[in-house]
Assembly symmetry: C2
Homo-oligomer: 442 residues x 2
């Protein structure tokens, strides 16, 4: 029989069991951080009408889309979770209580050219807060609180959340008399890290800015410091642009609430050079990076937008949200050796029988499970050594070996495979021990 190629398709991540357990742990951490702030889950179909997706897609996205037909239906796989949210909010408007705080963790599809670190199927972990007509700025601060809480819980190491307000960039362009060229200015600014100050200045001047204004703008983008420092530096320019004034007030309002969310000042930075895409975001924008790993780029980004549903409804629905691209992040962190994979199974306890009739060992396992303890029994009829090898390989923390003595005496011995700690007792004693350790240990 000709063998079929069983490797997953190029650009599709498929993990070993041990890696999957680590991946799911991250996913759970993100999920529970989101839920901690009152976000609720939404799930939408992977497949959408092509017209729904194409209403927003354009350029690269449109080329990358997986589109196909089934019967008369022109279908496509979602390429992000924002378009489905937009459709969802319109469709279920009557069932939604606003402000609508939803999280969505799911796979999205982009048929990109396959290359290292690029995935065609990947998980996005999104939250958005959607207002019906209006949405207070304090939500922008809350999103920052969520990012801080989530990455603290994920425990990848020191991270920095950088924020900006798009209106400040727009306002600067206005003040410099190049409001009509804002898209070009942003495009040039985006290249700052790549091509450096001099080249950017040159391009800005070619675009029509005076050399002084270009210098001034670059000076602002390089500004670091507290909101007071930033305010002071922007104040003169803000006299010349109402938008800049608005952007600055918004930024002040957001920053004001950060202590209430317990965001450590170390983990937070105002950075006026952050633009995040050219036309979607309209206010606060966020980027998050891991300290010491600039090559990872932003690992959690997002911002404020004026209207989620412009393509599908006449209602105005402002929102603010972020996304974590977990598939790519996982693969990068793994390459860097930053992920600890300690558990190969989810079992807390393994019961290893050294007898033929498995009734008693199985009964003990049932009892442990009834106490909420994940328990497996090695039931295959193999040599003792192979049974013990299995327990060691899987890295299960506790083992209970049951031979005829245990069946007769009903006294069990449970052994911690890592510490060597060993306790003798009744089934109830053993349950109590494991439950206790589970609660005490993290």
């Amino acid at each position: 029989m000709a063998k079929i190629n069983t490797s997953p398709l190029s650009g599709f991540m498929e993990l070993t069991p041990a890696d999957q357990i680590t991946f799911n742990r991250l996913l759970e951490t993100i999920k529970s951080s989101y839920e901690r702030f009152g976000f609720i889950p939404v799930d939408t179909p992977l497949i959408e009408r092509a017209e729904v997706l194409l209403a927003k897609a354009g350029g690269e996205t449109e080329k990358q889309i997986y589109r196909f037909s089934k019967g008369d239906d022109d279908l496509a796989l979602r390429f992000d979770l924002t378009v489905p949210l937009s459709r969802y909010v319109c469709e279920h408007y009557a069932d939604i209580v606003f402000p609508f705080k939803r999280y969505h963790i799911g796979k999205v599809y982009r048929g990109e050219r396959a290359q290292k670190g690029r995935y065609r199927e990947f998980y996005q972990c999104d939250i958005d807060i959607i207002g019906d007509g209006s949405l207070g700025l304090v939500n922008d601060a809350e999103i920052l609180g969520v990012i801080y809480t989530t990455f603290t819980a994920l425990n990848f190491g020191k991270f920095i959340i950088r924020i900006n307000n798009r209106k400040i960039l727009s306002g600067c362009c206005q003040a410099f008399g190049c409001a009509d060229k804002m898209t070009d200015v942003l495009r040039i600014i985006d290249k700052l890290e790549k091509i450096g100050n001099d080249a950017v200045t040159k391009e800005l001047v070619e675009l029509g800015l005076s050399p002084e204004d270009a210098q001034h703008l670059l000076g602002l983008l390089a500004l670091r410091g507290s909101i007071d420092t930033i305010t002071k530096a922007l104040q003169p320019l803000a006299q010349r642009s109402e938008i800049l004034q608005t952007g600055l007030s918004e930024l002040q309002e957001v920053v004001k609430y950060l202590p209430a969310f317990n965001v450590s000042p170390d983990a937070f930075r105002i950075d006026l050079s952050i633009a995040r895409g050219l036309d979607y975001y309209t206010g606060t924008v966020y980027e998050t990076s891991l300290d010491g790993y600039p090559e990872l780029g932003s690992i959690c980004s997002g911002g404020r937008y004026d209207n989620l549903t412009e393509f599908y409804s006449n209602r105005k629905m402002p929102g603010v949200g972020i996304s974590i691209g977990l598939t790519r992040l996982f693969s990068q962190l793994k390459s860097l050796g930053l992920l600890a994979t300690t558990k190969k199974v989810l079992s807390d306890v393994i019961v290893i029988p050294f007898i033929e009739d498995l009734s008693y060992p199985l009964t003990i396992a049932t009892q442990l499970r009834q106490h909420g303890i994940n328990t497996e029994v090695y039931v295959e009829n193999v040599k003792i050594k192979k049974k013990l090898d299995y327990a060691n390989k899987q890295g299960i923390e506790w083992a209970i070996i049951i031979g005829q003595d245990e069946v007769d005496s009903k006294i069990l011995t449970i052994k911690n495979m890592k510490t060597g700690e060993q306790v003798k007792g009744s089934a109830e004693d053993v349950c109590a021990l494991v439950t206790q350790k589970k609660i005490i240990l993290p």
Copy 2:
């Protein structure tokens, strides 16, 4: 602007937020029941090479498959989780420790004709235990233990797990001298509930069975009772068929271990008429039904198979597993009014500020979250009545209203919105109260 149709595609379930929370609760219950037995998670791409899926698909499945191309790739969406498991086990053989106990909860796709209760996208919740070369029968009993534990936890009401062994049916055919017509016999037996005893007898006789054998067979299929009763009834026939003898011993071995898994005798029945598909299963087969709702059919089915990987590998990998089709089950239970949707959000506590500066209310919320309490703050600047309406609509259990008095005194009042219970105290007191209630209450 022409409005785009925002409804999900026909045959694709999309839930309101409240229903989604209920759905996810069921999903979590299933997941944790599976993990309780030591099953570990696997996740595979939604998209597979078409050849991988078509190796096993055939007939109806092949027609229903979503197939498309992207670049040079001939692709398709998975139609079940068994084929991906089979590919996965071959691909990751070196990283898998056997017996491999995996669970997989994910969406699958079948482009069926749209009709009530049929979905084109639906969740399957699968477990399988895969052996490398061999796999002990006690695993078949464990699967029964998992079904019992899962549906007990799901708490839909009384249920019955029916089991059979395919070898018993094969053996009966052998004993009646119609081993070559087994497929036809099974096809006819499958119609028993629909067309009744007489019509089935007639068809069996037309197939070549003597009227006496047809009667005998139907008598066996209708048998109810303990394994001893069944054994006694089958014993004479078992003399004439080795396969039947094997099937009977296997059934005895599986039933023997049920008390060890604490499976209630009420929830379990041997039913020799269960066949489950014509050629996949080779031993134990399972069906599960809700008492009093025969119209739901089997809500959890599966069985033992000789070789998971026959299409992709020369290794022999026997397995046993089950699947719950949660999307359909959810929709049926909802129609029947059997699902309680009590929670519209996941927040334990809502903080409602009656003041302009939100710093203090947000600080209190942060403190609650740090105690593991899901907390939201109503931050929009609206009338007091609208804030209270929100809390009531969402059905959040605890509310903390914060006005200037609370800011000044630092004494909070937390109120249980259902019971009216009200407690005054410091932020720490409030955290302790909610945490305590969360642990004590289910």
